[in-house]
Subunit: 340 residues, 2 copies
């Protein structure tokens, strides 16, 4: 690519925002103009990209003109306000929020799984929730072999999924705990202490007893895999880990799936790396995934409770493949496909 | 009970051993003679029970005579050696290891679920693994209403399940992390860093791809619930929490189970407390369970992926109900049943 692309980042100083810059830099993405926006609190802050300092500004509507892609990772409310304006200004919004994910005219994309859906975009593309992305990355190639019927996923999600302030909160609690002090329980981000604790509630509650995060795993898996009736149930749990999300996945297929075949398929899947040697104490962990773009799969075995079931464990960095990297890969895929 | 009982404790200075003493003290259990044993490292240490100091000794065979019950929580090897000698000496061994759990002539008991199995003892009674106990406590009363067909359980297990040294290891890593130092990764108890990490491997690896801990959930649930063919699959994960184990449970029944009925049954179950208000941010957490004897159930909802499924979240203190309390309750139940 000799052409360079004008990129805007909304939420540039956030946990995912900073990863957008790191990922573009590492991948040598051809950035022409770069405009960084955040809340008024961050106005004037300088962020480095390719050894140059860039000032962070507050977004104004006229600042959107002339860009190719705008990467958004702020809040659902900001996405709802900004993304349509991005599209109107002629750029493409790549949105990290859940604001547009379930809209029929907005592609929801993991490039390794459904890059072809990008062609139907109307100026806004959504990326999945960081707990869904690694699950569909592992399930899609298995489903290509034998149709998937049912998914049960129980997640182990790091605090960084709730943003930089949540990481600070676990950090402060960890420090207090390390000093032997009683841990602060009046918390800003989480409703309960998270250090040395588990919070089985992520995002808003729903009337059906599921959290919105759990519902997302279902709705997003169905949309990305083009399986609108797939049976899905999830339990989403926040764990005292700084970075990377994990999930225990129980998948049922139309006919029996050999473990060897499943492993071989996953070993050949782009973006996925299999680490699976229980006897050798090798399996994916958050420490395996933190800071890289790979979706790590291990603990692949037959579901002892179902003749057509496969069980596995998947881990990926929620700020990278779960957010920033997936967004940049979408941008790259759209360029490759001539969609920009 | 006016009679007093002679009690021996093997592994008295360990994480569970100390809980045996606390639990007996709190419950006012009528202890007559109390003999405390541990490894030679701990010989001469003094432990308090009912405001009296008791010396810890190294177990010798003749020291077993004249006791009623011997509570064992050390290693499988020690249990295998000591428990038969306890039975030969005329006392009853209550064993916390997996050494005898699967033997046909050894009852495996959670008193709220299968106290009647105690009658068949031949001098050794086993208690379940700390991850299984809360799961069967919640499943048994539901199964009494509609037969259970299948169980999927993914666990979130605290480090105290691996003993006091494992708690020290997380403590040291937490301190280092709190000071901003790089966390030691060369570890004594766990093969990988556990602070801010997840280790999806507990106990020995098996040839079928499951860990022994995962297999235990299956084998022990089947034995305790008298369902030798129950379909069970588990994923067991160590989490950076000091105390209390949690599990996301997906249970399938022969016919549809109303969520309201399931909740009502669990609310009426002895030993179980339901905390289930997602909108009000109330659900069981390790911080709810640590230090008490209750098995806490919440997040009760329909399994969106199966017409006959119920999903819930269960948390209990692995050192208390998962080990010491369950052992003492077995002793009390045997006395109540006239088995001693």
């Amino acid at each position: 690519m000799s052409r360079k692309y004008g990129i805007g980042v909304v939420g540039a100083t956030g946990a995912v925002g900073r990863e957008f810059l790191s990922v573009m830099e590492e991948r040598g993405f051809p950035v022409g103009e770069l405009r960084l926006w955040a809340s008024s609190r961050s106005k004037g802050r300088q962020l480095e990209f390719n050894d140059e300092k860039h000032s962070v500004d507050v977004l104004s509507e006229d600042a959107l003109s002339g860009l190719d892609f705008v990467l958004i990772s702020a809040s659902g409310a900001i996405s709802r306000e900004v993304a349509p304006k991005v599209a109107s200004a002629g750029a493409i919004a790549i949105d990290d929020s859940s604001a547009f994910r379930y809209d029929d005219d907005v592609p929801l994309v993991v490039p390794e799984v459904n890059a072809e859906d990008l062609a139907s975009h109307e100026g806004i593309v959504a990326i999945p929730n960081c707990s869904t992305t690694p699950i569909v990355q592992a399930l899609a190639p298995l489903h290509d072999e034998i149709p998937l019927c049912r998914l049960i996923a129980d997640t182990y999600q790091s605090v960084s999924g709730a943003g930089g302030l949540a990481m600070d909160e676990l950090g402060i609690q960890t420090q207090a705990m390390g000093r032997g002090e009683s841990v602060p329980v009046n918390t800003d981000v989480f409703p309960h202490q998270i250090a040395s604790n588990l919070i089985p509630s992520i995002d808003d509650p729903r009337d059906d007893g599921y959290s919105k995060e759990e519902w997302k795993v279902s709705a997003e898996t169905r949309k990305i895999m083009h399986l609108p009736d797939l049976a899905v149930s999830a339990t989403c749990v926040r764990v005292p880990v700084f970075r990377a999300h994990a999930a225990a996945v129980h998948a049922e297929f139309e006919t029996p799936f050999s473990v060897e075949r499943a492993r071989s398929i996953l070993e050949g899947t782009a973006g996925v790396c299999v680490v699976d040697d229980l006897a050798g104490e090798q399996y994916p962990m958050p420490s395996t995934a933190a800071g890289n773009d790979t979706t790590w799969v291990g603990r692949i075995r037959a579901d002892m409770s179902h003749p057509n079931g496969i069980v596995f464990w998947v881990v990926s960095d929620n700020l990278r493949k779960g957010a920033a990297t997936n967004s940049i890969q979408i941008v790259e895929s759209m360029i490759d496909q001539g969609l920009r």
